[in-house]
């Protein structure tokens, strides 16, 4: 299928580019109309990670003078380099958003070095000084929104047992699990969060099985970190459990069971990036932010959320939005094996790069990273 896609692109657009090129000479790198390329690892409408990015791309399409080209289901291999090449050479893209974690090293780094005049904005990677200056990595502290979900879940759960369906034990996922668990403990100090790893980003049958096993264990509020939360949300709601969403708002799937959720806010961030480039400003190579910077947001509360939970969650949200900020990972933090992972007295603020190397599960989480 890869073959079909590439050859079609080459044939149709290659043909078009040839005619254009012959008529108007070489295309300038920055035309009056800016072309922006979006590359997704999965399906653009997966009710999850890729859809969140596609919503951001849709927001860019509304800006006059901006043309968006998109390609979905591009694997995290050499295939992404081919896609980037064709977006640059055939579509004239000058800004690229390869949105999947695994694209960054070595693929984006290599492409950015090859095309030093173009911009590459990668989601989730860790840009370092050694990487090309025209590449950048941006990401959102979605754990802030997960923390809010955790508070709401902690108040809503009757059994005090929460569940988390996770894909892989990588730092970003562990950070979400820990933030959710810590938020829940704020609401109910005895709350536990049980995590099940499915092993990959999109495993619908495993996700459904994990959801059922958690509910069998007495879990009554669930959330997840997988690419498409639809399976978890629908199966949990069918069993009468409550859910917190992830990536995008899944409340239409389970209106009664949906409490709140941690959502990306790319439709606010991407137009900001484009305006910065249009104004001649440079986007910081290492771009991070949370609720305050409008990179993440929380879903509106569902009807099952109590007034008490709303009040507490809104208080914490206000702290995240305040000038001094709020630290989720405070000193004296113990992991679920009893080891102190953050020494007493040293609060790790959200921007602390140490948090992006997280390899532990905090006290109150049932599960293991390996």
């Amino acid at each position: 299928m890869d073959f079909g896609r590439i050859s079609r692109r080459h044939l149709l657009q290659g043909g078009a580019a040839l005619t254009l090129g012959a008529a108007a000479g070489a295309r300038p790198a920055f035309a009056a109309e800016t072309t922006i390329g979006f590359i997704y690892v999965g399906s653009r409408d997966d009710y999850g990670y890729n859809q969140a990015h596609a919503q951001g791309a849709a927001a860019l399409k509304k800006i006059p003078g901006v043309k968006v080209v998109e390609e979905e289901k591009v694997p995290e291999t050499d295939a992404v380099e081919k896609t980037i090449e064709s977006m640059i050479n055939l579509d004239g893209a000058s800004l690229l958003f390869p949105t999947s974690f695994g694209y960054y090293n070595p693929h984006i780094v290599k492409m950015a070095a090859k095309y030093p005049k173009l911009h590459f904005e990668h989601c989730g990677g860790l840009w370092t000084d050694k990487d090309p200056k025209n590449a950048g990595s941006y990401f959102g502290y979605i754990d802030e929104a997960q923390y809010i979900s955790g508070i709401v879940a902690g108040y809503t759960s009757k059994t005090g047992k929460l569940g988390f369906v996770a894909a892989k034990p990588i730092p970003q996922v562990l950070r979400n699990i820990n933030a959710f668990a810590l938020g829940a403990k704020l609401a109910n100090p005895k709350a536990t969060t049980q995590v099940i790893f499915t092993g990959d980003w999109s495993m619908p049958v495993k996700e459904a099985e994990a959801t059922n096993s958690l509910i069998d264990q007495g879990v009554d509020v669930l959330t997840c970190h997988v690419d498409g939360p639809k399976t978890m949300v629908e199966n949990a709601a069918r069993r009468g459990a409550m859910v917190c969403g992830y990536h995008v708002d899944q409340s239409p799937l389970a209106p009664k069971a949906y409490l709140t959720g941690a959502e990306w806010n790319w439709e606010a961030l991407y137009p900001k990036f484009v305006k910065m480039i249009a104004a001649g400003e440079s986007i910081p190579n290492f771009y991070r932010g949370g609720l305050k910077e409008e990179i993440v947001k929380t879903s509106p509360y569902g009807e099952a959320v109590s007034a008490e939970a709303r009040k507490h969650a809104d208080e914490i949200k206000a702290k995240f939005l305040s000038a001094e900020g709020y630290a989720i990972f405070k000193g004296g933090l113990v992991d679920n094996k009893g080891k102190t992972v953050i020494a007493a007295g040293t609060d790790r603020g959200q921007k602390d790069p140490e948090l992006e190397k997280m390899d532990y599960l905090v006290e109150g989480v049932i599960g293991a990273t390996s």
Binding site: K161, M203, V205, K206, A208, E209, D216, T231, S370
Partner: protein, 308 residues
């Protein structure tokens, strides 16, 4: 029990529940492939048929509001794909394995293409029958919520077993599979028998797909099958072309799929990748134990291109 937890019992219950929930697509695809292979042809395209069945069932159920019409649509789609496979294979010097692989890619590709607008909407699902009414424990009740397709599949396995031994058309399929010359000498068209067998196989695989999208996990998305169709084709060899063994093998695979998440949920967290791989390790082990360089696999139809 007061807190709603039943501890380690969950694992056995989850494996039982998983065997019932997860096994149905395996069961339908493997029974369908069993019929096709017994007629002397191998259809590797059933992965594509499964995915097409899942997509068309979801689409029709969403458009008409009736999951049963969706089920029927999945079966018809499967039968048509089966007819396509059989049609191409009836041309001279065509390799059925290669055609199967091509149709697998065609089926999944077409389903992803046509299924794009179906990812977001929610379609009506097939109902479940509650067999856990006698129990007060919610976990038991949940494990015993059985879909009627599972029951049909379970009933179909012994029926096929009997049909292959005792009915006229069962014997005809086997004759075509064991010796096409014998079937021809009896005045039957081998191609026609294989066409019908492949269409029935496709029909069943399509029904298996509808279970995925209309019952469990219960929605359409592109990762839905993740190779279950091709696993089920391998299951047939594993089950020695015996419908009854297909049933047990499907149940074992379903139960094994539930094992990883269930063990993690009770706190056995180390090595979950290993537990997730359990069904494949099981297959490999049985293959190694039962294979022999001196003879072909027992029960293999003699006309099958992989054993010939």
């Amino acid at each position: 029990m007061a807190d709603g937890s039943i501890g380690l019992w969950t694992v056995s219950l989850a494996v039982l529940g998983g065997a019932i929930r997860v096994s149905t697509p395996f069961l339908f695809v493997s029974l369908g492939e069993c019929i096709t292979e017994r007629s002397g042809r191998i259809n590797l395209g059933l992965e594509g048929t499964l995915v097409m069945g899942a997509m068309s069932a979801y689409g029709i159920s969403y458009l008409t509001g009736s999951p049963w019409l969706g089920l029927l649509a999945a079966g018809i789609t499967g039968a048509l794909l089966g007819a396509l496979h059989a049609g191409i294979c009836s041309l001279p010097r065509v390799n059925d394995v290669a055609v199967g692989i091509a149709l697998m890619l065609f089926g999944t590709g077409l389903a992803f293409y046509l299924g794009k607008p179906l990812i977001e909407p929610t379609a009506p699902r097939l109902p479940a029958i509650d067999f856990g009414w006698w129990s007060d424990i919610p976990q038991v009740r949940a494990a015993l919520r059985v879909n009627v397709l599972f029951l049909i599949g379970v009933a179909l396995a012994p029926t096929l077993y009997w049909a292959f031994r005792a009915t006229r058309w069962g014997l005809l399929i086997r004759t075509a599979g064991e010796s096409s010359d014998a079937a021809r000498a009896m005045g039957h068209s081998v191609l026609l028998i294989r066409l019908r067998a492949t269409m029935v196989g496709g029909f069943l695989a399509g029904i298996g797909g509808s279970f995925l999208s209309l019952f469990y996990p219960g929605s359409w998305n592109e990762g839905l099958s993740s190779g279950q169709g091709i696993t089920a084709v391998a299951l047939v060899i594993f089950a020695r072309w015996d419908p009854l063994l297909c049933l047990w093998a499907s149940l074992a695979f379903g139960g094994a799929a539930a094992l990883g998440p269930a063990l993690q949920s009770v706190g056995v967290t180390s090595g979950y990748h290993l537990f997730n791989a359990a069904p494949y390790v099981l297959t490999l082990a049985i293959m190694i134990i039962t294979c022999s360089p001196k003879r072909t696999l027992t029960g293999a139809p003699a006309e099958l291109s992989i054993t010939r």
